[in-house]
């Protein structure tokens, strides 16, 4: 006996209103061992474990940008009612993690992010673009002129972070995102004997939007399909950084750029000569440099900056004339995270045909850390170079050590091994994409038949269905960072999430779950969006 209803009659889990089942449990940290070990679960097993069960056809695990975009497609393109979808997440709003990472990496709400004008998570048509919206709102043609001239005569137009987040909030309200959200910690996804899946969530006490209380006793969602977009497993702490922290227990002198590191900028305000080692040559390092250089100029500081680059690009680089990327002064330059044609052009179609090593080769060709070419950054770097308080070093860190109040980096470069001394190190080497580091993803590999792709992340079909995890009429779809390395590059971007979501809903339409959206319905839905009419 279970308290679940039929799959076709979903129930809304009233968190935290549901009484006994959702009261705080003394130790909600584990499931019974016999349940954890089983690859397939049955309703009887759920009942035996004493877990309350709820039915809903589609569950999206993650609750970040990936869940937002995919549920937006399900609601708008698939016409799936909000009652048939549950988003299970630790986050109270879908842009929570994104905004945190953007803020930590020095992008305030009024500044511009590295994203295209037509990459609108809140608007699956990409029309009107952010540039057109900004033109109409501010009554200036400049944004549209920039789009007209980019990227040859002007650098790419990019939208303001605040505008992007506000538009996501408006669309989330329009599509009733918070009616779908159940806050808590997802523990596991398991196949159900007979088809579909069980998803275990330890709900968090508090109102559904903004729950902050303790975790309660786990509940189970029985569903037909699961969408998983949990993003990166965490910040990337390279082995040398981990070793430094373990050895010295020092979290002050060396930070990951995505960690809160305001204390470094505060220390610089003392106007003592302080050296900051910036590690990495990506967009985050450009942001950190911008802050360091702006602060130095604005407050008359005496900051010295050393930038450590693993690969030094001094010119155009690439295997042949038709694959040459711009490089200068150590950096590789590219408009966005991937070459633009990753999002629907030649590169997408080229990658789509490749398997195994051939695919890895193309990922290598377009890989490497890049940053954007922006005129004011170029001007800042030129000044810093000329005045002698900024220089770049090429090399790979062998180890970090602490000498008094300074960090000493042992670096192996083209000219041999040398030591670099700095008062602070800001590591801008990114986020951790290892799927084994994430509880839910690791569990998919161990218990749900999932495999790794040639780049080590989760192996998905062109439709983003997780290979090996299909169960009866049920499917698991994985989008976002965990699906990197598949047939479609660019998964961990706004537009990439939309392309992935489109493939997911098209696949669901092929499975007969709803009708594929044609031009007429698309137009009708766009007018609803333009009129901000709730769906």
């Amino acid at each position: 006996m279970t308290n679940a209803r039929n799959l076709t009659a979903p129930v809304v889990p009233a968190v935290p209103a549901a009484p006994a089942a959702l009261l705080p449990a003394p130790n909600p940290a584990t499931l019974p061992g016999w349940l954890q070990r089983a690859n397939f679960w049955t309703e009887d097993m759920i009942s035996r474990a004493g877990l309350p069960m709820y039915d809903v056809p589609i569950v999206s695990v993650g609750g970040g940008m990936g869940s937002f975009v995919t549920t937006n497609y399900l609601r708008v393109v698939g016409g799936v009612p909000a009652e048939d979808i549950r988003v299970l997440s630790n986050a109270s709003h879908p842009w929570q993690t994104y905004e945190y990472l953007a803020t930590m990496s020095q992008i305030p709400r009024w500044d511009r992010i590295r994203s295209d004008s037509a990459s609108r998570p809140d608007n699956l048509w990409g029309f009107p673009s952010y540039a057109l919206q900004e033109t109409l709102k501010n009554k200036t043609l400049l944004p549209l002129m920039r789009v007209l001239l980019e990227p040859v005569f002007a650098h790419f137009y990019t939208p303001v972070l605040g505008t992007v987040l506000d538009s996501i909030k408006a669309e989330a309200e329009r599509m009733r995102y918070w009616d779908m959200l159940v806050q808590g910690e997802v523990w596991t996804v398991r196949r159900r004997t007979g088809g579909g899946y069980f998803v275990v969530l330890a709900p968090r006490l508090g109102a559904p939007a903004g729950a902050t209380g303790p975790l309660t006793q786990p509940v189970v969602f029985r569903c037909r399909d699961v969408h998983i977009a949990v993003g990166y497993s965490g910040l990337r702490f390279l082995p040398d950084l981990q070793e430094f922290r373990l050895k010295t227990n020092d979290y002050h002198h060396m930070v990951n750029a995505y960690e809160n590191h305001e204390h470094i900028y505060s220390a610089l305000m003392s106007k003592r000569p302080i050296t900051v080692l910036v590690r990495g040559g990506g967009i985050v390092s450009s942001r950190v440099l911008e802050r360091l250089i702006s602060d130095r100029k604005k407050h008359g500081l005496r900051t010295n900056i050393v930038q450590l680059l693993r690969t030094y690009y001094d010119d155009f680089h690439g295997p042949h004339q038709w694959a040459r990327r711009k490089g200068k002064d150590g950096f590789a330059y590219q408009g966005f995270n991937y070459p633009k044609s990753a999002w629907g052009g030649q590169l997408r179609f080229r990658m789509d045909r490749l398997e195994g090593d051939d695919r890895v080769e193309v990922y290598d060709e377009i890989g490497g850390t890049t940053t954007a070419w922006r005129t004011h950054w170029q001007r800042q770097l030129r000044t810093a170079h000329r005045e002698g308080w900024y220089h770049t070093e090429q090399g790979i860190v062998e180890k970090f050590g602490l000498d008094g109040d300074q960090v000493v980096a042992t670096v192996k470069g083209r000219d041999g091994v040398r030591q670099l001394r700095a008062d602070y190190v800001i590591d801008c080497t990114g986020l951790d994409g290892d799927v084994a580091e994430h509880r839910v993803l690791r569990d998919l590999l161990e218990h749900c038949g999932a495999r790794r792709n040639p780049l080590g992340r989760l192996d998905v079909e062109r439709s983003f269905e997780l290979r090996g995890a299909a169960n009866g009429e049920g499917r698991i779809y994985v989008t976002g960072a965990a699906s990197f390395g598949g047939y479609f590059p660019g998964v961990d971007t706004f537009l990439g999430l939309q392309i992935s979501a489109q493939e997911v809903v098209d696949d669901m339409a092929r499975r007969g779950l709803f009708e594929k959206m044609g031009p007429v319905r698309s137009l009708a839905q766009w007018f609803k969006w333009a009129g901000n009419r709730k769906i």
Binding site: F127, G335, G344, Q502, S522
Partner: protein, 145 residues
């Protein structure tokens, strides 16, 4: 835009047929040109067809040029400025009565108005409104089928 070769050709033919066709039908009666209405429509639609058909060859050239771009994109401005070589080529053919089916030489002012209206509006539609009815179009290199 990030077109593929097939996407370029499909988008050109589709937009010229639908948007170009409607615009041509609307502006033909008001173009500064003499002659019976039947001949005028015949002339403007032959010119429109020439832009479409000769355009396939142009697209092959553009696609070749695009290969030198790392991003494999076709900037918005390129899509607008290519009206210059394409316009000159079609004008030379139309003005000298070299297009099959043309009832006579096309006057320059009428050609300019027709060509510019069609080109600029088709370009504008391709850079925005096209995405509204066709949600998969931009993610498939401009392919419609």
């Amino acid at each position: 835009m990030v077109p593929t070769i097939l996407g370029r050709i499909q988008t050109r033919l589709f937009l010229l047929a639908i948007v170009g066709g409607i615009l041509t039908a609307l502006i033909t009666p008001v173009l500064p040109v003499d002659g019976p209405m039947g001949d005028r429509f015949q002339a403007t639609f032959i010119v429109l067809a020439a832009i479409a058909v000769i355009g396939i060859a142009w697209e092959l050239i553009y696609h070749f040029v695009m290969q030198w771009r790392w991003e494999k994109d076709w900037p918005t401005l390129f899509g607008l400025l290519t009206l210059v070589p394409e316009g000159i080529a079609v004008w030379l053919l139309a003005h000298n009565d070299l297009l099959p089916g043309l009832p006579g030489a096309v006057p320059t002012d009428a050609f300019l108005i027709h060509f510019l209206v069609v080109w600029v509006i088709v370009w504008a539609v391709a850079n925005g409104p096209m995405r509204v009815p066709f949600i998969r179009w931009r993610f498939r290199g401009g392919r419609l089928v």
